[in-house]
Symmetry: D2
Subunit: 346 residues, 4 copies
C-alpha cells in the first residue's frame, strides 16, 4: 500500500486528489495538509466527504511528511514546493508537484513569467515533466515529477502528433482555450463570484498567460526547435472542463486519412486519449469526472489549415488524475488504477 | 456474474444505469435496449461511452430478453413495463421497474393520477416498493421491484423516522421540492431548452404532481393511516440534484437531541443515508454522482414546527443507483457494490 | 430635475439603482458614493457603464450630500444608515434606505435578529415602510422611507390579499423562498464563488433568517394581530430572481373564482403586480430586469390549503426598482417613471 | 408613427424585436406574425408580455402586411423572406430581413453554404447589408436591408478598422467565436436541451459554418480583395452573448498607440461601438440587453500577431437591436431611438 501525503488538500485540485485516491486500491492518504484549516475535520471543509474521511487537516510540514509517506503531492501555489523541497526529502520520498515550479527547464523563463525567484533550481534538471503519454519511461524512474498544467496537457496532447510528424508549420500555431471556473481555484475573489462568471464569457491573460512558455517548451520538443505561439484562455460559466481549439497551417495538402493515421499511431493504444470519429467534436461534458482527453481535428481545404480540438476535465487529467497516473507509473502499478471512472453525463 | 438487460438505455436514467453497472464487479450489461436508436452504436448516443461500450442498441423485446438475462431494468415511460410484463417473464428473470407502474398499491389511484389504464394489475400486490432502507428484507425476496420515484425517495427518507416515531402531526406535512432538469428526461421539449430553464425557476404540477400519491402511500405506512399532504416541485437550472424542504407541526415541544436520536436510530447504520451535523444544511452538490441522501432538520421553537431537509442525486439514489442497490439485495451480494462513488465536488 | 445621491453605489443594488436612474427622465445622479472605490471611475467598477457614466466614486459623506441633493439612497450594510442619519439631514433631503434599519417598528426585534444596536431609534416611528402597493399614501408624505427587503416584498404581495380578507388561517403560513445569488451581494466570499453555487441548491438561515420578523410584521398588519410563520430561503444558481411558494390553510372551502376576485380587488389597477391567468405558474425569467411581481395561487381541495406564488427580480422590485418607485411617489411624479422596462427573455 | 409588422415574432429574435419596439417612441407593432401560434395571444407564448401586449398572433401573410405597415421585419428561417418578397411588396413597404437571404452578393455562394435555392436573386443587388457603422449612408436609402448575422456583426466590427487600414495580413485571419445558446433558436432540439448545454462547451460547424462566407465578403471589402479565413463557433452555457477572439499577423511592428488610433478613427463617434481601455478585455455580461459592441485588442510582440476581441448581445446588436437601428436610419429618425438600454449587470 502506497502511503500518500497531500500538501494543499483543501484546494479544488487537492479535493479531487482525495476523491480519486479514495477509490485507489493500492494507495492510502495519510496526511491531509492544509495550512488554512489546520485541526479542522477535512469533511467540514468538503461536506461531500462526510462519513467518508474522518481525518483532520494538518500543517504543511514537508520534512515531517517525508518520514511518513512514500509520495507527497503538492497542490499548492507556485513557489511553495520549490521553497520546501530538498535532497533529504527526495532521498526519503517521491514528490509529485502540481504547481509550475519544476515544469519549465529554463529558470529565467520561469522567473520572467511567474514573477518569483526560483528557490530550488538545482532540482529542475532532475524533474520529469509528467505528461504520461509522452514521457512515460522517464516518469517511471523519477523521484520528482512536475505535473503538467491543465492547458498545457490538453494543448500538447491535441497538437503533438501532427507537429512531431512534421505535418504543420510550427510558426503558425494558435491555441484558443476555454476553461471552467474551478481552474481559478477556491480563493474568495470578486472575479470568481457566481454573479460575475455566470452568463458571461471573457478572455483573460491575453498574451501573458503563464502556461504559454510551458506549452511552447513541450511543443518545441515535438518540433525539434524553439517555437513561439499564441495562447488565449477564456473563462466559461461551468465548473469543470477545458476545451482547446488550435489552429495551424498544414505544410502541404493533406487528407483526413493521413492525419487520422498519425493520431492513431500515437494514441490508439493510449487508454486515456480518445481520438474521436470523423466530424465528432470533443465536448467537455463527455469527459467530466474522468481522466480522458478527447481529441479530434478538421482540415479546412479552403485555407489549408488544420483545426485541432481537445477536451478534458481540468481537475482530473488536467491536475489530480494525471498526478495519480504519474504516481502509478512511478510505483510500477497499473497505470489506470484509480482512474477508471466513466465520464458522468449529464 | 449477473447478466443485465436494460430497456430504455438511452434516457438519462438508462445512461446512468450504464455508467454505474460498468463499475459493478458482479454484473454485466448484455442488452442495451432503446427503441429510438435501434442498430445505432450506444456510444454514438452517449459519446462519454466511446471506447468504453462497443455494443449496439437493441429493440425493447422483453420476452427475448428474459431468456438471456438474470435481471431486466425498465427505464421507460409509465405504462410500458406493465404492458410487457407477464408471468413467463417473471418466472425466468427478475424485473426492476424504474417507472411508476408498480409503485402504487391501489390501481384506481394510479389510473387517476397517471391517466392511463394499468395493463398488469395482477402483479401490483407482488411488487415490492424498492426503498431499500425501509423495505430491505422484502426486496431480497422479490421477483419484481418497483423502483421508487426520485421525489418520493428523498421525501420519504427525510420524513419517515419522525413520522414513524410519532413526533409530528401527519396532517400538517408540506413538501417543497426542487429538482435539477435531468429529472425531466431527454425528450426534445420546448420547456426543457437551455434558454427556458437557465436563469429561471418555477413551480410545476402544483397540486397535481404524480409523485404525490406515491409519497402519501409510503408516509401513510409510517403514520399507520392514510394521509394527505402538499407536494410542490420546482425546476432548477442545474443538471442533477433534488432538494426537499419539508415542514410539519411537532406534536409537542421536542429538543434537537430527541429528534437527532430518532434519525440516528434509523440511519446510523445505513451507508447511503447521512444525517448531517447540527445546523449543516444538505446541499445537492455534496452528493452529486453518488448514491448518498443527506438529511437534516431544524426545529423552529417559535412555531413549533420542524423543517426537514434531504438532498440527493436524482439520477443515482433517485433512479439508477437505487435500482442497482435493489439488484444487489435481490441477488444477495454486497448492497453497496458498484455504488461507492465519492460525491464529485465541484 | 431631482438631484440624487447614492451611498453604496458599487454594490449590486447600487449598480441597479444607477442603471434604472440613467433611464429616468426626471432624476439625475449627482453622487456615486462608494467607500471602497473612492476616486476610482465608476465605469472601472462596472464596465457596463463605460462611456455612459463618467463620474468618479465619492466617499459616503451623508452630511455633505444632504446639502447637494434632493434624495439620498443608502444601499449599504445594516446599521450604516442609522449611524449617519440625523434631523438636520432629514430637514434638508429625503432618504430612502435600502437596508433594514428602519423596516421594523420594534427596536428590540431589530436588535435581536440583526445582532446590532440601533443607532437612531428616534426615526423608526417616522419611517414609512415603502411597499408602494400597500402604503402608497404614507410614502407620498414621507421624509424617510424604509425600502422593503427582497423576500418581504415578494412574500407580502403574494399573501397580503387573502390574509387581509380573512380567507386563510394566519397561524398556518409557511413561506419557502428561492433566490438568485445577486441577493448575497458583491462581497468576495467563498460561499458565493461560482463553483460553490453552480450546479447546487441549499437552504440557508433556516429558522433564523432576518427577513422573518419583517414579513411577520407586515403580514401582521393584514391579519390584524401578531403572527408567527416559517420562512426558509434557498440559494439558486442564477443571477437574478426570487420565487416564493407559500402555503396556508383556507379557513373554509373556497373556489378559484372567489380567491381570484380577492387578488383582482387588490391588484387589478396595480401596474407592477400581475395576477397571472389560471394555472400559469410565475417564473422569475418572465420578470427579469423589470419592476413586475407576478403572483398566482392554486387551491388544493385535498388538503384545503392554498399555495400562493410570487416571482420578481430581486434587484428591481426587490431593491432598486421599488426604491425608485418610492422616490417617484415622494416627489409626486408618475409612479412608473424610469420603471417601464419590458422583462428580458431569454 | 412607423407601423411595424413582424414575421416570425415568436422566435427569440422576434421576441427581442418586440421588447425593443415596445420602448420605441416612433414605432408601433401592428402585426405579430407567427405561423406556429396563429390565433394565440402573444403573451401566452411569451409570458413576460402579460398585460403589456394584448395582440394575437397572425399568419405570415406578407402581401396583406405590405398594405398595412411601413416596414416588415422577417425574423424567419433562411429562404422564407426570399420566397415571399416581390416588387409589389417592396413598392409599398420597406423590408428588413433578419435571415441570411440577402446578405451574400453571390447567389452561388449562398446556395452552396445554405443548401437551398435562392428564390429571389433579382433583389440581391438592391439589398443593402445593414451593418450600420459601415454602410450607414446606403442603409438610409434602402428599401430592402439584409440585417447582418450575429457572428459577422461582431467579427466584422472587431477586425474592420485594422484590415481596412492595412495593418494586418488578410490571409492570416482566424476567428474563434463563442455564443450563448439563444443563437440556436427556440426550436425543440435535443442538442439545445438544458442538460446537454449546461456544464458543457463544444465547437460546432467547424470549417462549415454558414456565417463564414458572410464574414469573408464583408472583410473582403475592407481588404480590397477576396479573402479566406477560418471561423470556428462554440456553444457556451449562457443565454445571451457573443464573444469573438480573432487573430491575425501584423504586417510590421506596430505599437499599441498606432492601433488604438485606428480603432478610434472608426469608432470614436459611434455610440454603439465602444473601444475599451487598454488591457480591459470585453465581456459579454457588460453589454447584455444593450446594443453595444465592446471591442479591444492586444498586440503580442513575441509572435507579431494582434488579438482582436469583440463582445455583444447576440439578440440585440446581433439581431433585433441592429434591425431597429437599421429601421431608424431608413426612416430618418434618431439612430439610437429605442436602443438606449443600459447593459444589465449582473
Amino acid at each position: 500500500m502506497i502511503r500518500v501525503g497531500i500538501i494543499g488538500a483543501t484546494g479544488y485540485a487537492g479535493g479531487e486528489l482525495v476523491r480519486l485516491l479514495l477509490g485507489h486500491r493500492e494507495a492510502k492518504i495519510c496526511w491531509y495538509g492544509s495550512r488554512s484549516y489546520i485541526d479542522k475535520k477535512y469533511y467540514e471543509v468538503y461536506q461531500n466527504m462526510f462519513q467518508i474521511v474522518d481525518e483532520t487537516c494538518m500543517d504543511d510540514n514537508m520534512e515531517a511528511l517525508a518520514d511518513q509517506v512514500d509520495v507527497i503531492f503538492t497542490a499548492t501555489p507556485q513557489g511553495l514546493c520549490a521553497s520546501l523541497i530538498n535532497e533529504e526529502i527526495l532521498s526519503k520520498t517521491k514528490v509529485i508537484d502540481l504547481s509550475a515550479d519544476f515544469r519549465i527547464k529554463e529558470v529565467k523563463t520561469y522567473e520572467e513569467w511567474y514573477k518569483i525567484e526560483h528557490k530550488a533550481p538545482q532540482f529542475i534538471d532532475e524533474a520529469v515533466y509528467g505528461l504520461c503519454e509522452i514521457n512515460r519511461e522517464q516518469v517511471k524512474k523519477a523521484r520528482l515529477v512536475a505535473n503538467p498544467g491543465c492547458y498545457p496537457t490538453c494543448s500538447t496532447l491535441a497538437i503533438y502528433p501532427v507537429l512531431k510528424e512534421g505535418l504543420i508549420d510550427p510558426d503558425t500555431i494558435i491555441i484558443d482555450a476555454k476553461s471552467g471556473t474551478s481552474g481559478a481555484g477556491r480563493g474568495a475573489k470578486l472575479d470568481n463570484l457566481f454573479c460575475e462568471v455566470n452568463e458571461n464569457i471573457k478572455a483573460y491573460g491575453v498574451g501573458t498567460h503563464r502556461h504559454t512558455p510551458e506549452i511552447e517548451e513541450q511543443l518545441g520538443y515535438a518540433a525539434g526547435r524553439k517555437i513561439r505561439l499564441n495562447f488565449t484562455p477564456h473563462l466559461i460559466p461551468m465548473n469543470r472542463g477545458i476545451l482547446i481549439t488550435a489552429y495551424a497551417a498544414l505544410k502541404k495538402e493533406t487528407t483526413y486519412e493521413e492525419v487520422k493515421a498519425v493520431y492513431d499511431q500515437y494514441y490508439a493504444k493510449e487508454k486515456f486519449v480518445r481520438v474521436l470519429d470523423r466530424d465528432v467534436a470533443p465536448q467537455t461534458k463527455w469527459v467530466e469526472g474522468s481522466n480522458y482527453v478527447d481529441v479530434n481535428f478538421k482540415i479546412d481545404p479552403r485555407t489549408n489549415r488544420i483545426i485541432m480540438m481537445g477536451a478534458m476535465d481540468n481537475l482530473v487529467k488536467g491536475a489530480a488524475g494525471q498526478a495519480v497516473q504519474n504516481m502509478n507509473l512511478m510505483f510500477g502499478i497499473e497505470e489506470s488504477e484509480g482512474l477508471c471512472q466513466v465520464p458522468m453525463f449529464p
